[in-house]
Symmetry: C2
Subunit: 119 residues, 2 copies
């Protein structure tokens, strides 16, 4: 059973960028927080939509045909199969929701693929 | 395809309490905002966990054996099958995530059951 989770406290407990941490479970989904700074990698999730909610700061979700600019309290769902690359000039704090087992780098893989880590 | 969603703007567009509005989709889940004030009804979701994230204000999730007190930035997932009753003394704004088709009143039904409404 998951207890109450304070997102700010969870975010204060680590400093790595683009290294999501699981903070709660919702059925077969993982609820994660992540610190974004710099540019991630272009990738696609062929089997799932990808949920982003900006908690603080500003996040750009680059799509191949446009940029989606998100500030605090903005959410965006990248549809499954749509290539995207998040970037943030200054550190931004993000809530992510994805099916368990979904790699952060989607189909791209590579050295920035994170191990699912629970805090 | 869902566009960018500003949660505060969505919340400013209606005033009813305990009347969730769908603002985005994540696979077969609905992302909703709701304004809570007063006490809802005791109910159980036998088939799904129930996600609450407080965006503003304070929400008490009453369980049969304790109360879970949530402030801004606190999230809590009520496990499937656990009876609960949300209440808020002053108006609180909440983000909800549930499988589509999940009634807000769970197994309790009754007059406070909301029609799924998208804004």
């Amino acid at each position: 059973m998951t207890g109450k989770v304070n997102l700010a406290a969870k975010l204060a407990s680590f400093s790595e960028h683009f290294s999501p941490r699981i903070v709660a479970d919702l059925n077969n989904y993982k609820i994660e927080v992540v610190k974004a700074k710099g540019e991630f990698v272009w990738h696609t999730h062929p089997d799932t939509d990808d949920f982003f909610l900006v908690l603080s700061g500003h996040l750009t979700i680059q799509l191949r045909d446009r940029d989606v600019e998100l500030g605090p309290g903005d959410l965006y769902v990248v549809p499954r199969g749509v290539e995207h690359c998040p970037k943030a000039t200054e550190e931004a704090h993000i809530l992510l929701i994805e099916p368990k087992g979904t790699p952060n780098t989607g189909d791209a893989g590579g050295e920035r693929t994170a191990v699912e880590t629970r805090i």
